[in-house]
Symmetry: C2
Subunit: 217 residues, 2 copies
């Protein structure tokens, strides 16, 4: 889609969520440019005029004039606008609704709880083992739900990789890095792990996470 | 929509999320029937064949054959299927995308974090003041984001009440009840509180929460 103007992706060098959007943009061959933000900057003007919630990602799409925040909403917008051929989505139900279901599960069930596990492992100002344990268990539970589904299905929806499979990658990678000492992902969740390896082998994921590793240095 | 068969709503007598779906069904005059589940039952068969994540709400719609879980996905499905006249939604962008944005914020930013505040206040097996404080502060932050938006807008999207306004009601009501001793919602977040009073005054919300109060007894 070379005739498109690049989408501005308000991003962060280490946080997982903006990179979720980058993978989808790369899959759809939509040009984009990261606008990296400091954590301190996103909670004040001018950024909170873009996103009053003070979080990344957010996008500005000069091709449509849309400004949008929340990764789930951004990705659904990109799919509806730039995936009319259904490269990584199904255009109608019931698969479209199942995609929404797994999208909602990723943003409400994976992201927030995986984030709390990382918080109580790395960032909380006092050690609270029972709080950390609560969220480590939740990572195991969510991973187990995915694993049980993937024991019977190659992909979350239909018979191809869709955007909802890809949405789970960034937080899964963060969990593998941060929680690998506590959770045996490869040994306990074999179907999940094989699915994640397929996803990590895709050109889009490889390319985007190579860039993430470079900018994080 | 009297010719429709009732939707089966897998529900819970006290948890907030199924009642979010009930409000939308009532707004759209779609017939439905609660199928109340015990917390212990939703983590095993037969329910996990409906929802492998072991959570309510889930729905079975005999009019379309769809079985779906995750409240955000269920509500988007109901809107697309049963709100073609746009009673509580906008059928196209940019308002449609803004609705998705606030929907995503409700399910990923309000629900999970408000839930953690309730957990560490009422249910965790040891007192962890700094964990509870983390989530009480997050309720204040999210409420402040809504309040700042509502100081300048009557509704979250466009110039009418849409499904995304209504989605915030159940967790807000739970927070007012559970956290009212810690947070002065009415005094500190006036625009938010006035919006919530408008929403709580709607026929759908009054009716659904009267039923919730009755079944919780």
């Amino acid at each position: 889609m070379a005739s498109l103007k690049p989408i501005k992706l308000y991003s962060h060098k280490t946080g997982p969520n903006p990179w979720k959007v980058a993978v989808i943009l790369d899959e759809l061959s939509v040009p984009y440019k990261h606008e990296f933000q400091e954590m301190s900057a996103i909670k004040q003007e001018p950024f909170i005029s873009v996103n009053p919630n003070g979080r990344v990602p957010a996008i500005e799409d000069p091709n449509t004039g849309i400004i949008l925040w929340e990764s789930g909403a951004i990705i659904m917008y990109l799919i509806e606008t730039y995936d009319k051929d259904g490269k990584i989505s199904y255009p109608s139900g019931p698969e479209k609704y199942y995609e929404w279901q797994w999208m909602a599960y990723q943003i409400s069930g994976q992201g927030p709880y995986f984030g709390q596990a990382v918080w109580f492992t790395r960032f909380h100002h006092e050690q609270l083992p029972s709080a950390r344990e609560r969220y480590v268990k939740e990572i195991e539970r969510v991973t187990g739900v995915l694993d049980s589904w993937l024991q019977k299905h190659d992909w979350l929806v239909g018979d191809k990789c869709t955007y909802v499979d890809l949405m789970f990658v960034p937080w899964a990678k963060t969990a593998h890095t941060t929680m690998g000492d506590f959770i045996d992902f490869q040994g306990k969740y074999k179907a999940y792990f094989a699915w994640m390896e397929k996803l990590e082998g895709r050109d889009s994921v490889r390319k985007v996470f190579e860039e993430k590793a470079q900018v994080a240095q």
